[in-house]
Amino acid sequence: MLRHAGRTIAQYGLVVAAIVVLNFALPRLAPGDAVDYLIPPEQAGTLTVEQRDRILSQYGLDEPVPVQFERYVSGLVTGDLQSSIRYGQPVVDVIGERIGWTVLLVGGAVMLAMLIGTLLGFRSAWRRGRRSDVGTLSGVMLVDSMPPFFVGMLLILVFSVALGWFPVFGALPGTEIAGLSAIGEILQRLVLPLVTLTLAAIGPIYLVARSALVSELREDYVLMARAKGLVGRAVRRHAQRNALMPVVTIGLLEVGALVGGAAVVETVFSYPGLGRLIYESVLARDYPVLQGVFLLLAIGVILANLIGDLLYPLLDPRVRRPPAAAA
């Protein structure tokens, strides 16, 4: 057990190390640097080399790459993620201001998508081949096939502009209000982006839930459950429990994909999440922010794996209590 844990940790460690290196290298491989973004175009061409270097030195970007890397790594060790070039604030603060919105939006979307996708998928699997299954299947695939930005804009058009039910942009209430009404308005502004992102995430979860249950329903224990006299829900319960594992796996995989993928939706709705932060930081070559966000994402992916490792034993006793070797 210990050796296994040790190896797992070592592997995760390697992944993190690789991510740290990539986080550092990838943004720097892109042409241009922060100064190219910071300086107004009409002035950009007028900077002398010395002036440019002075600006770069402000952000420690004039040092040789190995020195920068060393500073970055030692900063990581001490928990210092440096300061954003674009925002002038510590990266921790910049991310801190957005992570809540991302958790709300992406977390909410994943949960909703998991819930709806699983319910619909199970329902489809149970009625597979019948009209309601084919209807749901093609409906979900249709929704899944619409580019999220397209969905988002249509939603805005219908629900914001035509109906006026929901605001067009932003996460925060337009005016300073407190308490319940503020929460209400925050939720109200969350609805459209959340719906868009949820719709974008439901597809894979639904399909996995459906196919997982379909193949579970072919298992002999389901036949046995029916043969021993169980009906309807009791039979389904047998199979659903076992079909949950792949659903959880895909759900956790979706989290990572959605944080990045949310950039488009967050742009359409001017939602201040991490996806948009990544997008803008890439454009601004804001290396410290990129390093910070990617590290966070990497940790998130690893956490999702860990959560998976914790959840699987709950879902599957074969993981929890492996058979004795010689059984």
Binding site: P322, A325, A326
Partner: protein, 266 residues
Amino acid sequence: MIDVRDANKRFVAPGLRRRDEGPVVAVDHVSFSVGAGEILAVVGESGAGKSTVGRMLLGLERPDSGEVWVDGHELGDASERALRRIRRRMSLVLQDPYQSLHPGWRVRTAVAEPLAIAGVSQLERSERAASALEEVGLAPAADFVDRFPHELSGGQRQRVAFARALAGRPRVVVADEPTSMLDASLRRGILDLITAMRERLETTFVVITHDLAAARYVADRVVVMLNGQIVESGEIGQVLDHPANEYTKMLLAASEGRLPEEASCG
């Protein structure tokens, strides 16, 4: 022809299992030998390590310790390339006739595969494949060469598997439970095929089976395995008529539908 000396093999349980269970012992200090043209039956329940022994004979598994000599070559330390050369003089027949043939290949292609590997020309290949098919009782071969496995019955498939195994005129054939998936009425035909081949080609056979009746029917000698160890071995008549080991006795009794009353819960 075959000489296994004190071979050991352990497996680490794969997958999600905890690692502290310790490795599963598959083959535990096994030694036996088979003479040229002999038929050896390896008998035991599932999980006794029979199949691992079979795979070792082909170098598909390497022993952790001990030596496996086949036709004058030691397989345990041989390079992959050398192993491939040795294997070309050997052959393998597996249990499941539904899986042991490539479902997308016609019978002709499947049977000719060992010949293709040996570099036999296209023309000669199809001739020899046809004659191999007729040798195993699929005559006329022309009726079968263009069929796909799913167009054959289980017994026919297993015959095709034998035709393929024998097409390259191997010195040694390892047959892993060749009859266990077949209906009772087909079993005998396959076993007869093995003895016939031995007669005609002097091929050495290692037949792995849990079926004592089948073992008695084809084999010259038998090795009885339990939990990776050999518990008894010898001339087939000798062992089955006068079993010395309790386990062998129990197997015999069960195959006759009797159970020693003291036997514990299975």
